[in-house]
Amino acid sequence: MRYMLGQIFSSVRFRIGFSIFAFILLTVLIYPLIITEPPLKTISRGTFLSPGIYVNVYDSIGFSPQYTLLLDGAAERRIAAKLNADDRASMKEWLVKAGLPEESIDTQDTAALLEVWHANFDPTIRLPGMTNADRNYYIRLNTALDGLLATEGATIAVPDATTGALKEQAVVDQTSYVNIYEVPNSRVFPLGTDNFGRDVLTELVAATGVSLIIGFVAGTVATVIGLLLGLISGFLGGFVDDAIIFVTNLFTVIPSFIILILITFSIGQDKRGAITIAVVIGLTSWVWTTRAVRAQVISLRNRDHVNLSRLSGHSTAYILMADIFPYIASYVVMAFILQVSSGILAEAGLSILGLGPRTTEVPTLGLMMNWGMIYQAHILGKWWAYFPVILVIALITFSLNLMQTGLDRVFNPTLRE
C-alpha cells in the first residue's frame, strides 16, 4: 500500500493535479470557518460592485481622529479622477469652436485649461453643429468643474431636528485622511458582488463545495451502477450480459445529456435539490463505466487465477469481489475520478440551461454562471461575476484529469516513458 502510494506520487502529473485539487478542497473547507456569513446573503443594494475595499462613507467622514497628510500631487490626482482625458478633449473642442486659437489651449495644464474655460464658457451660446444633448453635457461638465480648484474643505452639516435648518458640524479639508483599518465599517470584496449584491468570493467558495459534492455523488452513483452492471454482465455472460448490454447500448445511442435534460425538466423546479440533480446525473452517466468494466472483466474471467479460485470452490460473488475486483480497482478509481469531473461539468451545463438545482438554497458553479448570463454580466463587462467561476471549473476538471492521467501512467506500465 505504501509502495503503491509512493508510486502514485512519483508521477509529476499526479502531484500537480493533487496539489491543485487539495488547494481547492482546503479552501472550501477552511474559508467558511473564517468568513461565517451565509453565502447567499445580500450584502450590497447595488449590483455588480467591482472588486475592491469598501469603506463606509459616513463613518469615514465622522471619524476622529482625522489625519492631515501633505502629499505631493494629491490635488492633481483628485482633479485627474474627476476630469478625465475625454472631458479635457471636449473642453478644448468647445473652446476651439467658440473661436479660440487651437494652439493656445493646453489640455495637460489643468489650471490653465480651467482658467480659459471659466473665462470663456457661456451656457447660453449655441455653437454651430452642437446638439441639445451636447449642450446639456457641457452644462453638466461646467457644474462639476465648479470648485475643483478650490482649496478650502467641504462642510458637513446636520439638519436641526426641530427647525430643519442645517447646522455646520465639521469641515473636511482636502488634506484630511483617515486610516482605512480604523474605520469601523469597511468590507473587502476581492471579487466584487454579483447581480443580487452578494459577495462573489464567499458565494464561489460555497458553490465550489456544493459542486464538488454534486460531482462526488454523481461519480459515486455512476461508478457503483457501472461497476455492478459491468461485473455482472462481464462475468456471467449469456442472457444476463445480452440484457445489460442492450440497455447500455440504448443509453449510449441516446445522448445522455438529453436524457438528463428531460429528467431534470420533468422533476420540476421545486423538487430539484443539489443532491437530486447529482443522483440524476449519476443515473445517466454510468454507461461508459459499465462498458469499460465489462471489457476488463471479460478479459479477466478466463484467467487462470479465476479458474483456480473456482476450482477451490469459491462462489461467484466471492470470485467477483476477491479475484476480479482487485484487478480492476485501479481502473475503477480512474473511472471514478473522470466521473466526478464530468459530473461537475454536467451540473454546470444543466444550470446554464436553467435546469439546475433550485436557486434559493445553495449556490453551485453552474448556477453562478447562469446568474451571470441572465443578468448580462458578460455584456456589461462585469468579469468578476463569471470569470472566476469558469476558472474554478477549469481548475477542478483539469486537476482531476491530471490526477487520472497520472494514475493511468502508474497503473498501465505500457504508457510509462
Binding site: 487462470d304 483456480l308 473456482r310 476450482l311 477451490s312 470452490g313 462462489s315 476477491a322 482487485p326
Partner: protein, 271 residues
Amino acid sequence: MNMKSDDIILSGKGVTKIYGFGPNRTVAVDHVDFSFKRGEVISIVGESGSGKTTLAKMLLGLTSLSDGQIYFEGKLRDIRTHRQKREYWKNCQAIFQDPFASFNIFRKIDAVLLDCIRLRHGRRLPDEQKVEMMREACRFVNLKWEELTNKYPFELSGGQQQRLMIARIFLLRPKILLADEPTSMIDACSRATILDMLMDLRSEIGMTPIFITHDIGLAYYVSDTVYIMEHGRFVESGSADDVILRPKEAYTRRLLDDVPKLHEEWDLSTV
C-alpha cells in the same frame, strides 16, 4: 479383455463444444470419445487451436458441454449446482500453464492453501492441524512453510510457484489432475523437478494425471496413453510407445517430424 467398468475413471461420449452461432460458429471440440483408466498417465497432445484447452476446461467442469456426456467413475457427471461442482472439484483439480497468472496477486500463499483445506475438510479443523497440513504439503514440494507464510505468490520464482501449485494438489488429494502445459513456462532445469514431484504425488495419493500439452516429447516421457488432437478431434490414440515410435496417422507423423531431435536428422525439406 474383460475390463471392469470402475477401472475407467473418466470417460466421454460425443463431447462437443461449439462457440458462437451463425457465421461465427466455431466447433472447438468435435464429438470426441475417450475413456481414461484409473492410475494411468494420460497425455492429450495438440497444437494451438486444436481444442485441447477447451477439452480440458470441459473435463474440469469450467465450461459447459454443447453436446455429449462425461462420465465420472462410471456415472453421468452432474455438476449443475454449485454444491455438486464443489463435490466434483474435490475429485478433479488442475495445474495451469503460467504460474505467474495462476495465483491471485492480492491473496497470500496461506489463503491459497487454506482454501484447499477448507474445500477438502470443511471449516471445522483446529488451526494447529491446518498449519501442520500446510507444513506437510510444503515439505512435499521442497519448500519451507515458515518462509512462505505471509508472503505473496509473486514473490516466488516461477518454479517455486509451480511447486506451490503442486502443494495445493497435495492438500486436495483429487482423483484426477489435469495438468495444462505445467512445465512450458519454466526453465528446463526446473522442469525435471516439477515432473518428478507430479509423479511422486501420483504414487502418494493415487491420482490419475492428464497432461494437456503441445510438447510431444513431454507426452512421450511422462505418459502411458497418448491422445493426439487436431481440429477438435482425436486423430490417434494408444500407448505412448505405439503412438510416438510407430505413428499410424499422417498428422502424428508430421508433428513428430517437425520436432527437432538429437539422434535423428531433422528433415527441413518437408516444409
